[in-house]
Amino acid sequence: MEVEKGKTAKYLRDKREVSQDLKDNLKIFNKIKKEILEALKEGDLTIDQLTQKLNIPKHEVVYYLMSLIKYGFVQTGEVDDMDEYFSYKLKK
């Protein structure tokens, strides 16, 4: 069967089921992404401040925040006076 170029995802969708776990993971990522971006709309925040707002473990904030930097949504701001913690802001 000839499948039109650029429309091949449907071909595999008909043959292969997408697991509920994958859909759930996507929902979690979208939720955390939205929460981080909403929080940063109010101003620059450190990881500690984001942790308090989001109520998720600090290491998860680091992971998701760094991923959002990689994806181009967030950028690194200034470091504090002790050169220990950076603040983060929305990418304009």
């Binding site: 997408v18 996507l26 990522f29 904030v61 991923s67 994806y71 690194t76 220990e84 950076f86």
Partner: protein, 434 residues
Amino acid sequence: MKIEQEKNISFDALVVGGGIAGGEAALNLANTGFKVLLIEKDLSLGGKMIMLSKVFPTLDCAACITTPKVSEIARHSNITIYTSSEVSSISKIAKDNFEAIVIKKPRYVVIEDCTACQLCEEACPISVSDQYQYNMVGRKAAFIPFSIANPKAAAIDIDNCILCGACEKVCPTNCIDFTQETEEYRVSIKTVILATGFKLFDPVLIPRYGYGVYKNVITSMQMERELAPTRPFNTVLRPGDGKVPDKIAYVLCTGSRDATIGNPICSQICCMYSIKQSQLLMGALPMADVTIYYINIRSFGKGFEEFYQQAKGMGVNFVKGKIGKITETEKGNLILRYEDINEGIVKEEEHDMVILSVGALPNQDASKLFKGEELQLDQHKFIYQSDLLGSPSKTSIEGVFVAGTASGPMDIPDSILSAGSASSEAISYLIQNK
């Protein structure tokens, strides 16, 4: 599975493994006019070396050495490369003739048509752990493995793809193809070079070090990524809370010289890569204190002792001590309880980040490849060298040679030397059996 029987697929040599040793061996064979099939299980050539920041003892940029070589391999007219592929079996069908079955997994991208524009990455809604950054940051399900990957082309992580088709919609060259299937090739070859490399020790197997539980205990490969120009964070940070560390400890011999975890031998690289990283850390974080806890420093190679002394001169603190246990404080700092070997007493010291210098373990996959012939392993499960002193590349099977760390732990220059030896033996074998 779609069985693709290519009618005339035959090569002089099969090289299993596209790391620095396999690549070097393939290049030597190709430069002398032999046709080579190079099989790499990953999405890119380059093996572990392409992921490194710099190399010891020269502190040359690893990517600057690896990428031109990988590019030369990829462009060579005598080398055919299959990435995302594995050899499932090799049979000796005549004195100087082998038959290999190669399984090529679908990438879901036509490599030749991909321009690496990354629009598919932008469009993909999925985020999963990036294995090329040792899980410290996410990546998309439609992704380019890493910036200096070769081939530099996108791939679809089908196990994490929701088949939404967003990548296809934005692809300007229509190179994404979800109709691709696994292919099987039957390949005739005259000689085989095994360059299957080594595996890194998983420190989860030493629970008292807290890896995986304490987020500021990381492996040396994770630190290698933090120090690389294509790093996961903007600078060196603690994964536990994003703090810039200022008191860093290295625990040498994690998973090496330790019979309790089944690896009694020295990995030969950990002392020097830890010393290298300590020097890079002193450069990246000038105010940081770096302490290396060691049993013995094995600075045996050319320029290694000078490199060790240079680290001492830069202020790296060396403590002859064996770590018993690591515990975590409320602030995420780590308390190292250790035996000070010189003083013969147990001490404790607090650090804010710990790097476990993980050792090299044998990759035993190659031993299962051969049908009808036994590829012998040595007592430590690396590939047995049947004539270690006379012809170190020879294995227990005539016509099959070993290159690089598949035969035992070694550093990059020794891997390349070993690949030179293996390719010379293979060339000699091919000429003798013409």
